[in-house]
Amino acid sequence: MTEKQVLLKVENLYKHFPIKKGIVFSKQTGAVHAVDGISFNIYNGETLGLVGESGCGKSTTGRTILQLYRPTSGSVVFEGDDLTKLKGENLRRKRRDLQMIFQDPYASLNPRMTVGQIIGEPMEIHGTYKGAAQTKRVQDLLQLVGLNGAFANRYPHEFSGGQRQRIGVARALALEPKLIVCDEPISALDVSIQAQVVNLLEDLQSTLGLTYLFIAHDLSMVRHISDRIAVMYLGIIVELADRNELYANPRHPYTQALLSAVPYPDPFVEEKRKRIILEGDVPSPVNPPIGCRFRTRCQYAKGICAEEKPAFREISKDHFVACHFDIFSQ
């Protein structure tokens, strides 16, 4: 097998949103620690899944990578260039290689633009295709995502949720990107339609050689589509591993609880399962717990968890976990 090539390297990424008080003289009184020091690599051609509960910072991570939010500190190196240092024209050019598919197919398409204009806009901005060539390219893209090329003159409201999400995919593909950040692309869709969109994303990956960062909260779907999976909790990555390893051998108490909470579509399995029920809610990211972030809900928490922040260490090959203990090793 060939050596895996790093396409994107995220290092010590922080994103804090300031909380301000006052109208005329506003001063910062605190910060939402949305992303609080995360590091990972994305290899060429793989799908990295990013899971966690709402408010854990997974979408912020995706947007900060694309520089839609400028990070507070840290670096995002894409093919040798640090995106956080790029500005203006240079950044705009780089964006061609990094695209995004959004969660809500009803809100992410402009209702006043035709499908052709929506998919054509990135080409217009970057000047890649013009005039008749652009029209042809739009039709090709529509066919690529499984829609009729003649739909280019229609408006978004004429399509169903699943079809709209296909239009969103076509728009993301318009500039032939290398990395696509999929921000919960299927959570607004019906179950049978989810499978259609997931199959489409898989087909496109194998024909176009795309790399995905797949953000989701549905653990069974993430397992299906990803090669490796990162689990986020309150702004940090608590565990990162190969998908089979993570599901077979979760080492962080939070990953364990998260996996045990997923319902199986099988009454025979459900009958025998024992759930780990997490008490309470996720703490506020304005004042995250000192030490280990998860200790307030962790059944194994000891004194050290409140004092020291656990290191993100490699517990076995390519399996990283941020926990003081090694609770689940057999």
Partner: protein, 329 residues
């Protein structure tokens, strides 16, 4: 066990600018005491509308229940007068709605809202009702329930709001609790909390539950019996184990195949159901699923199959074709 609710031939129409939408096209089912019934289907298949029709909660116009009966304690819920239905709703049959963010009134306190059904149905005073609200908020696991009575909904998190909704549904100790996708808007960890809670309460209070969902995963461990709906019809009904082990309708098979499973080893391509659910501008004369069905035969394009018993006790399916053999029965 005794039958608690018997719904027969329920039909609901909505008047729209495009024409009459036939949302529910003859739904019949029974609910026994203490039974948990799961109702599954995609959005727009009529699962919520059929339950709301039964309780006369359909806004009219544009909605109208045009046919059917819903027998509860010897009375037809669809024909009794307004006061009688009000005495049943919230007291004997209560509903927990989908979205905990919007189903509370933001300008009233949690305590007042949770206590309201008890005050109305039992003519109780404010203090007595609030005491009872505390009891039920504690039952659903709200810490410091008494102090939190004077909180407003925005001070509760999503999971807590949903638990408060359930407390409101339970405060009159109903015989039937209808849960309309109560966990769809919540995270999996909170969803697991709510499901465990409902299971515990069901066993403690002995009520019957109708759980509406689009996710076959959720009800596998919860329901005794499952109704699968499509195009305003129940297209398959069976005890929970039969429906997962031995699904008979192509739509149910498709739904199960489109779910990835976490215990699968290796890679399996998801089977998607091509196409879209029908827009029911007229009552389907053919099988409503025929256009998306892999097994469709000549007969499916001519006649709409009714529910027919197949192998297994209490297992009914509305399909002309046996999916195992690909031939007509």
């Amino acid at each position: 066990m005794a039958e608690l609710l018997k719904v027969e031939g329920l039909e609901t129409h909505f008047q729209t600018r495009e024409g009459v939408i036939h949302a529910v096209n003859g739904v019949s089912f029974n609910l026994k005491e203490g039974e948990t019934l799961g109702i599954v289907g995609e959005s727009g298949c009529g699962k919520s509308v059929s339950m709301m029709s039964m309780l006369r909660l359909i806004p009219s116009p544009p909605g109208k229940v045009v046919a059917g009966k819903a027998l509860f304690e010897g009375n037809d819920l669809l024909t009794i007068n307004d006061e009688q239905i009000r005495n049943i709703r919230g007291a004997k049959i209560s509903v927990v709605f989908q979205d905990p963010m919007t189903s509370f009134n933001p300008v009233l306190t949690i305590g007042d809202q949770v206590a309201e059904p008890y005050r109305v149905h039992h003519k109780a005073g404010k203090k007595e009702a609030l005491d009872r609200a505390v009891k039920y908020l504690e039952l659903v696991g709200i810490p410091n329930a008494r102090e939190r009575l004077s909180d407003y909904p925005h001070q509760f998190s999503g999971g807590m709001r949903q638990r408060a909704m359930i407390a409101m549904g339970l405060i009159c100790e109903p015989q039937i609790l209808i849960a309309d996708e109560p966990t769809t808007a919540l995270d999996v960890t909170i969803q697991a909390q709510i499901i465990e809670l409902v299971k515990r309460l069901r066993d403690e209070l002995g009520m019957a539950i109708i759980w509406i969902t689009h996710d076959l995963g959720i009800i596998a461990g919860l329901a005794d019996r499952v109704n699968v709906m499509y195009g305003g019809y129940i297209i398959e009904t069976a005890p929970v184990k039969d429906i997962y082990k031995n699904p008979q309708h192509p739509y149910t098979i498709g739904l199960l195949g489109s779910l990835p499973r976490m215990d699968e080893t290796g890679y399996r391509r998801l089977t998607s159901i091509d196409g879209l659910p029908p827009i029911l501008l007229e009552k389907p004369a053919t099988c409503p699923f025929e256009l998306r069905c892999r097994y469709a035969k000549e007969r499916c394009r001519k006649e709409n199959p009714g529910l027919m018993q197949v192998e297994g006790d209490g297992h009914f399916t509305a399909c002309w074709v046996n999916p195992k053999t690909g031939k007509e029965y």
